[in-house]
Assembly symmetry: C2
Homo-oligomer: 199 residues x 2
């Protein structure tokens, strides 16, 4: 049976935080089913959610349908500040982690993991503007501000918004192979060339 990746969809999640990993992981799992993975967009009740910039996204599953995931993706966005106070969700995250899931986050999804106690004494990253909030959640987190993503084994955190694409490709490389990740990268033509230099 295929191993399950779930992306947590919640109110006011940032659109690209959610859809960047969705694109990478769905491209992989749908084009290469022989690798034995599936991806679900999970909301608590299986209903759609309105994201931070106003786009409605549908879920493919409710939490109750998701069993024990092998990988969790926690996106960020302004709504993560509500998500991190949702004790039922935090307990679900802790249970997934205890059962062996690889816990991944994008952007301020790291704040939710910190609130769940998953980042204690760990290296991690988040959106550059959210480092103070991360420290407020858990002062033992060791910021890695220059990393696009931080792979600490059972927990992987990515930097802001678009960094979820890079992190998801890393995840494909880890779960399948670097060659597979390169095939996915080619499929979504991810050879980025931003028009503006980093500032």
């Amino acid at each position: 049976m295929a191993q399950r990746i779930v992306i947590d969809l919640f109110d006011r999640a940032e659109e690209l935080d959610v859809v960047g990993p969705w694109e990478v992981l769905s491209y992989w799992t749908q084009k290469f089913p022989e690798d034995g993975w599936t991806v679900d967009m999970m909301s608590d009740d299986g209903q759609p959610r309105t994201c931070a910039k106003g786009l409605l996204l549908g879920a493919t599953a409710a939490r109750a349908d998701c069993g024990t995931p092998a990988v969790v993706v926690e996106p960020g966005g302004i709504g993560s500040r509500t998500r991190l106070a949702d004790e039922e969700h935090l307990e679900w995250l802790r249970a997934a982690h205890r059962s062996g899931a690889i816990m991944t986050s994008v952007c301020t999804g790291a704040l939710v993991y910190a609130a769940a106690g998953l980042l204690t004494n760990r290296p991690a990253t988040t959106h550059h503007a959210a480092f103070p909030e991360l420290t407020a959640q858990d002062p033992t987190v060791r910021h890695q501000p220059s990393s696009r993503w931080v792979d600490d084994g059972d927990v992987i955190t990515a930097a802001g918004v678009s960094a979820g694409i890079d992190m998801a490709l890393h995840l494909v490389g880890r779960l399948a192979s670097p060659e597979r990740a390169a095939e996915v990268q080619k499929g979504i033509e991810y050879y980025p060339a931003p028009p503006i230099a980093a500032s």
Copy 2:
């Protein structure tokens, strides 16, 4: 009154083709309303659509509500092969172009523009695997396979899937300023670092 950008949402559009530009353009227009632009996710009837990898996306407007857009974004995805045979949509695209809209595309959205006759004798790009289809639609198109996007003035075409992010940042730079594009780039932390070398 704000000038309107519309992103065309259709059945089986590729998720990141749609949401990459949405993120860049919505971040810009919502954070900097003083620039005088708005973005709509437009479907023919204003109803949601199911994208190529199975994700439901909502529309913010129906075509009839969109008046005369200043910019059109035509995403790609497997559904573009249906879209390019939709004469009502092609006529809407031609009318938008005649009225002065900047016509932009991502990935196989270029096939739809070619079908509408918008790429005749122009330099353009599309997904690397779709060049033969582009030629089949219009043999006069001059492929630019090494370009991340091609700005030909009133028509801008981007390469595959993730290239829509780069193109949208270029568009912000053109419609507002390079400094504004840099602010958006920083907001979505788009300093990409793919884990796998280009192949």
